[in-house]
């Protein structure tokens, strides 16, 4: 069953890895030029509305050095695009069986529902880890292209770890939705909506102090690049929050799926 799920999702993993990897490489490859023209860039940045600068965390990170550049440009892509990938993958993986009515085939086999969920979650896990391994690897290639500029490897590792946790958070919630819903269309639109709404909330909470309470609602804020790069650690409270969200979602998914009446 694992093999089957793996195969079915392999194509989209390859595509996403290629797109994300390509974007990272492209972004990092233009850093040397970017750094040379830093003066103009700084000027350009100053001309941007302060809200926008805040939204992308550019007020706390120096986009002129490689680590900061990575934190603003590359990290935004890996967190956002990766979350979209993780959420759609997990939202589809269980609901698809009911959507296509193939669950009738699967459930007639000698497997328990828990076993089905375990295998499927395992595929999600492996795919997320591979996507992140690819981004990290490509980032290293990108750093090679920006030779002569220093990058804090510790920060990069921490950012990658934060990204992985973020992806798992969205994947777990989407997985829960996937067990609750009968149609993949509903599950994936809910999951995608969640990713974009929370991303938006994260930006809003950076811009306005009045909205700063939103930072607890948005997982994107949990893994904000600026504090990670500046303090070289991930806030334990946020880590804890993500672990709680993941555990609660996964456990609920098992409980709900076990009790669900599956009518196709």
């Amino acid at each position: 069953m694992f093999k089957r799920e793996w195969k079915r999702n392999a194509k989209s993993l390859v595509i996403w890895s290629a797109v994300l990897g390509g974007l990272i490489l492209l972004t990092l490859s233009i850093f040397p030029q970017f750094a040379e023209q830093q003066k103009e860039v700084t000027k350009l940045l100053q001309s941007l509305p302060p809200a926008m600068i805040k939204a992308f965390g550019m007020d706390q990170l120096s986009i002129g050095d490689l680590t900061g550049y990575y934190g603003v440009r590359v990290y935004t892509m890996t967190t956002l695009l990766g979350s979209v990938y993780a959420a759609t993958l997990a939202a589809n993986i269980v609901a698809k069986e009911e959507n296509d009515k193939t669950i009738e085939f699967l459930l007639a086999k000698p497997v328990t529902r828990s076993e089905i969920l375990t295998k499927k979650w395992l595929v999600v896990t492996v795919n997320i880890l591979i996507l992140n391994a690819v981004s990290l690897l490509v980032s290293f290639i990108g750093f090679q292209m920006a030779k002569g500029y220093d990058v804090s490897l510790k920060a990069v590792y921490l950012l990658t770890m934060a990204t992985v946790f973020l992806h798992f958070t969205f994947a777990a919630v989407a997985f829960l939705l996937s067990t609750m819903m009968r149609k993949t269309r509903n599950a994936s639109s809910f999951a995608l909506g969640l990713v974009f709404v929370t991303y938006f909330m994260s930006m809003m909470s950076s811009i306005s102090d009045d909205l700063s309470f939103l930072k607890y609602v948005s997982p994107f804020k949990y893994v904000d690049a600026a504090p990670i790069i500046n303090e070289l650690q991930i806030d334990l409270l946020y880590m804890f929050l993500m672990i709680v969200i993941i555990s609660v979602s996964i456990v609920s998914a098992y409980v709900i799926y076990q009790k669900k009446d599956i009518v196709v």
Binding site: D100, T102, F105, K109, P110, V111, D261, V263
Partner: protein, 290 residues
């Protein structure tokens, strides 16, 4: 030994009626027909037995094991053919069958034999298959692991008559081997042809469990008589279950002595007469009015 034992099984849906207080048993090695019109609760019963859905109350066992607690254990020896076959469209037939086989211990020879018997091209993609061919995949998939119990939900839909014949042959061969078959259908004739006993379900309730022999011994006949103008007939016979008169046409369900009917018809001037097997609806009417 009872292979399947269903005890006051009830499944209520939020909006729809499911099944109520259904009780019956299936003995080892018999072909048990389960018959009723669409929406009567046949599929609901089957899905509950396979633990796709949970019973509201009551219980059932298969091989003496509880259908909810021991679902996995039970499924090892059950072959299921759903009424509508839905498979992974991206797979080839052989891939699907191998995937199915991966859940059990299956010999390759069995797969090939079954596919050959049913004239199934295993190298085609599933999405390119016609409805009937998909059904064949379903049949192979259900028989592949040599289950002790076959649960077939309206299995003949989409099969051409020739293939139906082959399929019935296969089922009878399985029965010879001691396999028990639970055969759900809304077509009386095929149940009559194949089954040892039959349960009749309507509107979620089990009406009757009878041997086929007993059903046919009832000799319920559907009689239509068209009389010539000016003729009148009352047909006050013992054994008239139902009678409808419209103009000079009389329709009735009759299960009395044939000679008496013929004798009465003999005295009338008749334009047309037909005496035929009752339709399923007639049988139900019969059981309702009893």
């Amino acid at each position: 030994m009872n292979i399947v034992h269903v005890n006051e099984l009830t499944k209520m849906y939020k909006n729809n009626r499911g099944i109520e207080q259904v009780t019956f048993s299936i003995e080892e090695g018999e072909i048990f027909g389960f018959i009723g019109p669409n929406g009567a609760g046949k599929s609901t019963t089957i899905r509950t037995l396979l633990n796709f859905i949970y019973p509201t109350s009551g219980s059932a066992t298969i091989f003496g094991k509880d259908i909810v607690k021991d679902a996995k254990e039970i499924r090892k020896h059950v072959g299921y053919l759903p009424s509508e076959v839905h498979y992974y469209d991206d797979m080839k037939v052989i891939e699907l069958l191998m995937y199915s086989a991966s859940f059990y211990k299956v010999s390759d020879r069995r797969l090939k034999q079954l596919a050959e018997r049913l004239d199934l091209d295993i190298h085609k993609k599933i999405e390119d298959l016609s409805f009937g061919n998909r059904k064949k995949v379903g049949i192979v998939q259900a028989l592949l692991h040599e289950p002790k119990l076959l649960i077939l939900d309206e299995p003949t839909g989409g099969l051409d008559p020739l293939m139906q014949h082959t399929f019935f042959e296969l089922l009878l061969e399985e029965r010879e081997k001691g396999v028990t078959i639970f055969f759900s259908s809304h077509i009386l004739s095929e149940v009559q042809k194949l089954c040892d006993r039959v349960a009749i379900i309507k509107e979620g309730k089990l009406i009757q469990v009878e041997t086929i022999e007993h059903l046919t011994k009832n000799q319920l006949k559907h009689v239509t008589v068209v009389l010539e103008e000016g003729q009148h007939a009352t047909f006050d016979l013992e054994g008239v279950v139902k009678k409808e008169v419209s103009g000079n046409e009389v329709m009735m369900l009759y299960r009395g002595d044939m000679n008496e009917l013929i004798a009465q018809l003999h005295n009338l001037r008749i334009k047309d007469v037909s005496i035929s097997e009752p339709s399923l609806e007639d049988v139900f009417m019969h059981y309702y009015e009893k």
